[in-house]
């Protein structure tokens, strides 16, 4: 997720020979460990920072600032941190913040749907741009889907 290179070349074509399953398991484990390391590098610092905020007046301050807007989408004010991290950094960062805060299953589901429509905006928009598409359209679609899903789910759930 965090590599911004285009990875199509790494998709292996099977030549129709016998499948070397050991090789597959080793490669899969390696890429699993690599992804785990990528998310560790992000989740750990985020967890420490948000824990620190939680035990100072800062989280309450942030929460109060964002409360009016966040209440429209059924989320407490401090969840603004999660949405900002998810959109500016990536889903791993958002997960680090969710794990630190105390949120209900409903709130976590709303956040999950919103963030799955719109996340890692800098990185993914750069990737989408390489295909030659108008990024403004893409950004508008993603942010509107996220906002609309938040509004609707708050009413439905």
């Amino acid at each position: 997720m965090s590599e911004n290179c285009l990875k199509s070349q790494s998709i292996n074509k099977n030549d129709g020979n016998k499948w070397n399953y050991k090789q597959t398991i080793i490669k899969g484990t390696k890429s699993g460990l690599k992804t785990t390391w990528e998310l560790t590098k992000i989740i750990v610092p985020v967890y420490f920072v948000v824990t620190f905020l939680k035990h100072t007046f800062l989280l309450e301050f942030i929460s109060n600032v964002f409360k009016p807007f966040m209440n429209i989408i059924g989320l407490p004010g401090e969840a603004a941190i999660v949405l900002v991290l998810g959109n500016m950094v990536n889903i791993y960062a958002a997960i680090g913040a969710i794990a630190t805060l105390t949120l209900t299953p409903k709130e976590i589901t709303i956040i999950a749907v919103m963030l799955s429509f719109s996340h890692s905006l800098f990185m993914e928009t750069a990737v989408a741009k390489k295909t030659g598409i108008n990024v403004l359209i893409i950004l508008t679609i993603r942010l509107s889907l996220a906002l609309a899903s938040g509004l609707i789910l708050n009413i439905l759930l």
Partner: protein, 154 residues
């Protein structure tokens, strides 16, 4: 609450979160490697051809669509760029596939990560898929008009 307690809470909490994620990510990556090495995704793409009519995309576009849906946006974009070079994708297909993929990509990884922290996975997955399908098929109906008007510089 003093600084030692905060550090302790941070260390313990972040370690357990990372371990939780690792339990999901490592098996998932092995499964994905199996899909890649056995070339299952291109077989799946061939099976998906009837769906291309509903989405309004060409049959060749199902391959980048499946790749992006399962492996992620960067893989999908890589395949799109390759196919665009070989002239398999029209501008219309390009837009429709990307619109589908920005709404819904790397479905396994994203869904499972959110499930690990307590979200409803089936709900999340269905909302994403349905929204992506509906959005793409609606856009397909109007995209010719939009592209010919060229009011938006595409």
């Amino acid at each position: 609450m003093n600084i030692i307690d905060i550090l302790k809470e941070g260390a313990m909490g972040s370690t357990s979160s990372v371990l939780n994620m690792a339990k999901i990510i490592i098996p998932l990556m092995i499964v994905i490697q199996v899909l890649k090495d056995l070339d299952i995704l291109s077989k799946l793409a061939r099976k998906m051809k009837p769906l291309s009519k509903f989405l309004g995309i060409s049959e060749d576009s199902t391959f980048p669509l499946i790749i992006g849906l399962i492996l992620g946006l960067s893989y999908g974009a890589g395949v799109i760029i390759d196919s665009a070079k070989e002239d398999h994708l029209s501008k219309k297909d390009l837009y429709l596939v990307i619109i589908f993929l920005v709404a819904c990509h790397s479905v396994f990884e994203d869904t499972l990560l959110f499930v690990a922290i307590g979200a409803n996975g089936w709900f999340l997955l269905s909302v994403r898929l349905i929204v992506a399908l509906v959005l793409t098929s609606i856009t397909a109906r109007y995209i010719d008009k939009i592209l010919s008007k060229k009011r938006i510089h595409l």
